[in-house]
Amino acid sequence: MFSFDFPPFGARQLRLLERLTNAVAVSGDEGAVRKIVLEHVRPLADEVRVDALGNVLAVKRGTASPRLRVMVAAHMDEIGFMLTRDEGKGLFRFGKVGGIDTRNILGKAVWVGPDHIPGVIGMTPIHLTTSVSRKQVPGLDTLRIDVGPGNAGKVKPGMRAAFATEYVRLGPSIRAKALDDRLGVATLIELLRRAPENLDLLAAFTVQEEVGLRGAQVAAFAMEPDIAFVLDCTHAVDVPHPDGEPNTRYNTRLGHGPAIYTGDRATLSDPRLIHHLVETTEAAGLPYQFRQAGGGGTDAGAIHKQRGGIPSVSVSTPARYLHTTASIARVDDWKHTFYLVWAALKRLTPQVLRH
């Protein structure tokens, strides 16, 4: 029987999350988050490298023998926009990067480029619209990012933009952009800090998840682990049903603990690893929930199919309103996600793959 002397988790971790969520790392341009990650993991890991696509691959070796090579992945990138054409005087056409609903972007403030040049996705005022046009979602070709003439010279096509949302702590909650998946990135940094001795921890901070799990694919090929855990952030759609009916499609619920994946569109989680996680929650006295089976996908979708196959499972911290301007997560759900994965790693032996 293990005793779990859980590491402290509080102000320090929240400060890290604040830095990570305020940084902008739209898929393909993850440099700002990579810099923070490198700064933290270089002193913690035995080996750190940045691969050809920009993944940060860090290895912290254990001492037990035999020991598993365990990949833990979290993606650094976030959804956002890419400027596509300069139309003069600070007006830019743009495209979406990753899954974004156009209804969510109308009239929203954005940061453009590495210097966070402030801009806005302009929207026609209500006075100049009709009752008919208000029911329609404008096409992306009718929208512009407006940074004004003063900053026009600092902004160029090809630059990325992200929602201009500052991290805020709201009592037991956090409101921020890009909690998907800076929560996972911060968790993975903490896991490296507290890496257990019974395994080789192969930490992959991946790129381009939001555009098709691309970074994880090459990271898993390169790392060649025995098994993989993916840390992500998943939807909590747990607000009451508008017509008063019971809500049976909530995906996950805030405050109910880390969400263990059984299956999504990209992966059927390895039953042995699901069992190991559930057993860990019982041994460690931690709350958990199963993410509802159905659509969606995480880096596990790419990882488990690499080489001769890699048994994989995902664990997410639940958050509301993902892929929009601002998401909400509970500090306790995040803390328990870290504790669960930390404890699960600590009690992991090659026996887990026996059955």
Partner: protein, 328 residues
């Protein structure tokens, strides 16, 4: 062959949860194999023939079947579910599912103002008959339907692809010796995107890949005439499907072997759907690949139908191919 199919079809093995069917297959092949391994994702890999001799040939038939995964349960004994693989809503209504612990549930629907319309899976539920059912979120079930012997034709759930599994087992048993290194792969997770064959092909690194799977049919009333495949006219040698163009040399090898051995065959051009051969073909630096298909009516329904002679002839064709040199 019938007895084999009766046994294999009735064991539940939804994608990702193939352990029961894997153990059954392991028992059936144990006496005929040179080596048996299970890989990281659960593929059962059976080698026949000396390592290093002749061609390295990978055969694949998938063990998994479509099914459902529970996404929500309530206090009244009802479960909501997500599909595993290509589950057709109209085949679900009134159907039964069997969980891996043996528990049965029935599928029905929410009350609707338009009963003529096929509901979506979201509007259906599994009635577990009691609030004390022991079923939770993440539990999986396979569709439940008995095996029926109609003479030349047999009917069951999961003939996709236990028919292919039976063909591989039968071919292995017929194959007294082979000049090749042959890997009979009973693959996992085909129904959710040929995932098992992807990793097995990487692991085996074959010279040639052949999948054995069921295919569509063109011999029932008002079926689109472009599907020129009928039950009982022999195994179908695939030329293309929507995921793969079969390697011409593999197609020629299959056809010339069938003709020399007097085995009936059909040429198959399938417009939609694909098989494990797609994953093998695209593995590593590329692998010449093809598929031998068993014509099957009502694929992904709980009552799939094949002609037993097509399965027997497919096994005979495979055994004939593997017992001689490959002509390329």
């Amino acid at each position: 062959m019938k007895q084999l199919l009766r046994q294999l079809t009735q064991i539940p093995g939804p994608s990702g949860y193939e352990h029961q069917i894997r153990e059954a297959i392991r028992d059936l092949v144990a006496d005929f194999a040179d080596e048996i391994t299970t890989d990281a994702l659960g593929n059962l890999i059976v080698r026949k023939g000396k390592a290093g001799q002749g061609k390295r040939i990978m055969l694949a038939a998938h063990m998994d079947e479509i099914g459902v995964m529970v996404s929500h349960t309530d206090e009244n004994g009802f479960a909501r579910f997500a599909p595993i693989g290509g589950v057709r809503p109209f085949y679900c209504l009134g159907g039964r599912v069997r969980f891996l612990n043996g528990r049965v549930g029935i599928i029905n629907r929410e009350k609707t103002p338009d009963p003529a319309k096929v509901p979506t899976l979201d509007q259906m539920f599994i009635d577990l008959g009691s609030a004390r059912h022991g079923i939770g979120v993440g539990d999986v079930a396979a569709f439940d339907r008995t095996f029926e012997d109609l003479g030349e034709r047999v009917v069951s759930k999961a003939l996709d692809d236990r028919a292919g599994v039976a063909v591989l087992i039968s071919a292995l048993r017929q194959l007294e010796s082979t000049p090749h290194e042959v890997y009979f792969v009973f693959s996992v997770q085909e129904e959710v995107g040929v995932r098992g064959a992807t990793t097995a092909a990487f692991h085996i690194a074959p010279d040639i890949g052949i999948a054995v799977d069921v295919t569509g049919w063109g011999d029932t009333p008002k079926v689109p005439p472009m599907v020129d495949v009928a039950l009982g006219k022999g195994p179908a040698i695939k030329i293309r499907d929507s995921g793969m163009l079969a390697a011409p040399q593999v197609v020629r090898w299959m056809i010339s072997t069938a003709e020399k051995a007097g085995i009936p065959y059909q040429r198959e051009v399938l417009l939609s759907g694909s098989t494990d051969a797609r994953a093998i073909q695209l593995s590593r630096a590329g692998v010449p690949a093809g598929t031998i298909s068993i014509p099957c009516r009502y694929v992904h329904s709980p009552s799939e139908m094949i002609d037993i002679r097509d399965a027997e002839n497919a096994a005979a064709l495979l055994a004939a191919m593997l017992s001689k040199e490959v002509p390329f």
